[in-house]
Symmetry: C2
Subunit: 429 residues, 2 copies
């Protein structure tokens, strides 16, 4: 089938899915979980084939690791489905109800966005996670996984589509795309696809963002900062910076640059150097840093780098404003934290730093949907429209205005024979 | 000054404006209104120069009409400012507050988007309206008006910037761009500009949408439908269709296509034809329409046309589903109305029609921010992310997550020495 035909069928199915009830969607989620467990042997054997082929093709070790979809992963994704089932249906919620005039009632009601295009590398768990998030929120989904996971993705998609069809949902609400050429086709389908969610490396996400007219939700760089203020508790600061840098270096909310106020730099820098060197962190720093601790000099490129590794850039700043300015210049709007005992300065930092997550006295590693208590996470967005920061199910929703009248026409209001009343109805649609 | 330098200065000012308090912003709005009134002679004389030059340059009459900015218009925009002043400050509202663990508090707080690029044709009132909406919502703004209104726009921008500077806001929170080349420059500034709002013709909006990586809020086509169901009150249907088509033909929420159920077509079509012909509406229709009333045959192109004129396309459909399908195929997701006495069919229509505004027994002309009671309107969006339908001030806002801790690190939760509590705080930031 041609890609645009398939996309049109998915779009058609999206309208049916959007109107599906909570019970039917929950039934479908239960059937998916049950089927993943009962067919685990098939899944694991498909994954084994992917792993063997990819090993022969010399897929790098970190990607091979992410490709593994074993029994533990199957249990993980079914637990994810259980937590999705526990969440309220986000569709059909009344956000606003106004009586515009006698008998003319306006309701703003949540609804799915429509068709989501998901493009992901390696991890087959992303397929299950995103597909079930889309299902819960009533969105149809076009899935494109990496070629290295093709066998695993094929059986996972088949299981999901079969289970949801058994629950009475339209079969075309989800579809798996097979070839790399499909990605570029997909990026052009702004008539059928309403939103693209890319999951993968920075370069991958940036490529998607630069090559489509379709809105993209996600993040490329995560250049996060810790700023240790002159009024910081230095022991607390060291603990936070070590966590923010080393707790898990390969993730977007790990800190990449440390900013230190000049007043405490001489005291703090040797302490943090010792703590980080113990964790095998390589340090680079500005010339002022270099006068206080022995480090290689940082270049302009360092302030713009997301190392995703055991490496940290350090800069000494003269003022809070300089710290804020550095972050707003080089940051990626992801997560930035101030460590200070002064509330006024903390609030100033949180007001002026232009990022989705602005923290006070805690590690940048906290910016995450599960830690925030969202139950399910679509991803983290560094965009400034629609959804920002860790995005839960609500990032897959929009709303419709529904207006219920009884023959009302605008001419009556234009000629002033009637006037609007705009009374809050406090009523559900 | 170079365009990107200017844009960077505006971006810098946007951070100061984002942190400005309600009183300061309201003071600035009051000063703008006062200054517009006290300097009305200057404004009117600048506008007279624009009108004279444009007349000589043979600007079409409708555009000349929109260019007029006289005393009435000045009073209108100051009334708009008064209604903005009456609205709550939308910035700094707590949308969510969760205690993640003891002493670790998460707040989701509304904030401005940042820098808005506004591009508009003719109407100088759009400049005042958008600039003041941006001010109220704490957004900086780059304004680009049409060359025909250059004198008027220059003095309006000067008045606005002077008044807001007097209120202590940074002078660069707003800037007026002068040349046509600036528009194309602006469309490339995705580092400095967060959102573009184009106000003008369909072609103009589409050009903007097709030529920028920056998100665009607005609408190109407004292809709105009325569907008269087999269970409609036909007198009500006629009244609604006449209003939806003729109350004001040049606007985006005017109806362009009428769908009629076959069961009532023979009775309804002659009635509606008579009513519309009286209003000088030209009718085209499908072949089934043509067997019931004498009309020219509609082509495929008609279903895709936004006439913005005294012209209506009519199609007879066999089922409610066919009507829904036609709308979802040819509509623009703007506003569509069903006229029926059957609630189940009405709700089905409103569930399945994929549009920002879905109406029952009322005219499509109601989809408008003022009629909806929003007090101020940014525009109407046919996009499916961020804001949809008539967009009030909230369309210019996003949020930040602010996390307040006391030395909290992720490692404690990773090694399970601590667990998240996720208690709702019901507390304002």
């Amino acid at each position: 089938m041609k890609m645009d035909e398939l996309a049109s069928q998915v779009k058609e199915a999206s309208l049916l899915l959007a109107a599906a009830g909570t019970e039917q969607k929950d039934k479908a989620l239960q059937l998916i979980a049950a089927s993943l467990l009962s067919r685990k042997e098939e899944i694991i054997s498909a994954n084994r084939a992917d792993l063997e082929r990819s090993r022969k093709e010399n897929l790098p070790a970190p990607l091979l690791k992410r490709l593994i979809f074993d029994e533990t992963k199957i249990v993980d994704v079914t637990e994810g489905i259980a937590s999705l089932l526990a969440l309220e249906d986000p569709v059909g919620k009344t956000l606003l109800s106004t009586e515009l005039d006698d008998g003319l009632e306006l309701y703003k009601v949540t609804c799915p966005i429509g068709v989501i295009g998901v493009i992901f590398e390696s991890r087959p768990d992303a397929l299950v996670q995103i597909a079930t998030l889309c299902l819960k929120s009533g969105n149809a989904v076009l899935l494109k996984g990496g070629a290295e996971a093709k066998e695993t993705n094929a059986i996972l998609a088949e299981i999901i589509i079969k289970a949801t069809t058994e629950a009475g949902l339209p079969a075309k609400w989800a579809a798996l795309l097979a070839t790399r050429a499909d990605v570029n086709e997909m990026l052009k389908m702004d008539k059928q696809i309403d939103l693209i969610i890319p999951r993968g490396s920075n370069e991958f996400v940036r490529y998607i963002m630069d090559n489509s007219n379709i809105p993209v939700m996600g993040h490329a760089d995560g250049i996060c900062h810790c700023y240790v203020d002159k009024e910081a508790d230095l022991a607390m600061a060291a603990k936070i910076v070590v966590d923010a840098k080393t707790q898990y270096v390969a993730v977007c909310n790990a800190t990449e640059t440390l900013l230190v106020h000049e007043k405490i730099a001489a005291e703090f820098l040797p302490v943090i150097k010792e703590a980080l060197v113990k964790k095998n962190v390589e340090l680079v720093g500005c010339s002022r840093t270099n006068t206080l601790i022995a480090v290689n000099l940082a270049t302009e490129e360092d302030w713009k780098s997301e190392y995703l590794d055991y490496k940290l850039a350090i800069k000494v700043v003269s003022t809070l404003e300089q710290a804020i300015n550095h972050i707003n210049t080089y940051g990626s709007g992801h997560t930035d934290s101030i460590i200070t005992g002064n509330e006024v300065r903390a609030r100033r930092f949180m007001d002026f730093v232009d990022a989705g997550n602005v923290f006070w006295n805690c590690s940048t590693r906290f910016s995450d949907g599960f830690r925030y208590g969202f139950g399910a996470e679509v991803g983290v967005s560094t965009g400034k429209l629609h959804a920002r920061g860790p995005v839960g199910l609500e990032g897959l929703l929009i709303y419709k205005y529904k207006l219920l009248g009884n023959g009302h026409v605008v001419e009556d209001y234009a000629n002033r024979s009637k006037t609007f009343k705009h009374r809050n109805l406090y009523k559900k649609y």
